[in-house]
């Protein structure tokens, strides 16, 4: 495996969604290729930064307003009807 080949399957590896045989080959490459190892580590850190709840926290005052608005609508609405929401196709 070359660095270029590793790049193509990098996401599957990082997301843990990779064929075990391919994974073994990839790890063999990593054992001898420090730049690839660093790139994989960078990618993992990049993804986890964006997934970090604390960086993109829901503002507390908004959370309270949202839940109040939902509760008000629920009371007003009674039971949910079954027509299509705005995001659901045409």
């Amino acid at each position: 495996m070359k660095c270029q080949d590793l790049l193509k399957i990098l996401n599957e590896y990082v997301d843990g969604d990779i064929d075990p045989a391919v994974c073994q080959e990839l790890e063999k490459h990593l054992a001898g290729c420090n730049p690839c190892k660093v790139v994989i580590d960078n990618i993992r850190k990049t993804v986890s930064l964006y997934k970090n709840d604390q960086v993109y926290e829901l503002p507390l005052d908004f959370k309270q307003r949202l839940h109040q608005a939902l509760q008000d609508k629920w009371k007003k609405q009674g039971s949910p009807p079954s027509d299509k929401p705005e995001g659901q196709g045409s």
Partner: protein, 212 residues
């Protein structure tokens, strides 16, 4: 006891349990807000998108079909609201609302009243980090940005991302790879330690079996 699935909560909510609906909202509001923020780049708009999405979802809960996940379903609704915001922004002209400096004002009235966070320094650090992350995502081409936001910020699976954006899974994978590599590049220039910088490999180190 295994945790209640989203679909089970939808069924309970349809049967009239508000608590079940509220639990669904609590599970998804954080990631959805982060995604809405990356799409609109405005807190007020992101909050509107999230609120309208859940209000619409509540109203139309009966039409949710279980072939897609609840996350995919609300993402499609949210995307629609976010696109509306972006479209109306293009049409709207900005009009200054404030009086010229110092005129017509007596003593300034406190407007924004809230307790300070316990650790202002950490709050500022978090904001700075967020500004760097936002800037990096904003540089992505829109097709890659949407895929990255849905998959990595909101946490949808590749399949769910493909469904929400009407793309093939293959297309999602290609865009996601490009997006992650592009972000890695930008962020490494910000956070990388120059002392440990390595040169990319020119393939003279390929193992014996790679050589032809």
């Amino acid at each position: 006891m295994p945790p209640t699935t989203d679909n089970q909560l939808v069924q309970q909510a349809r049967a009239g349990e508000f608590q079940a609906f509220e639990l669904l909202v609590s599970r998804h509001e954080g990631p959805l807000y982060a995604a809405a923020w990356h799409l609109t780049h405005n807190h007020h708009d992101a909050q509107d998108v999230v609120q309208n999405t859940f209000l619409s979802a509540m109203e139309h809960l009966g039409s949710f079909r279980e072939e897609s996940s609840f996350a995919t379903w609300i993402t499609r609704i949210a995307l629609n609201f976010a696109l509306k915001v972006l479209r109306s922004r293009k049409q709207r002209a900005t009009v200054p609302l404030e009086a010229p400096d110092g005129e017509g004002q007596t003593v300034p009235v406190p407007e924004y009243i809230a307790d300070w966070t316990t650790d202002p320094a950490r709050t500022v650090q978090r904001r700075e980090l967020r500004a760097i992350l936002d800037e990096a995502v904003a540089q992505l081409p829109e097709g890659q940005r949407l895929v990255f936001v849905l998959r990595d910020v909101q946490g949808l699976s590749v399949r769910e991302t493909a469904q929400a954006l009407d793309l093939t899974e293959g297309n999602v994978k290609v865009r996601l790879l490009r997006a992650r590599l592009a972000l890695r590049e930008v962020l490494t220039r910000r956070f990388g330690d120059p002392a440990t910088r390595r040169q990319p490999h020119v393939h003279d180190h390929a193992s014996a079996e790679d050589k032809t």
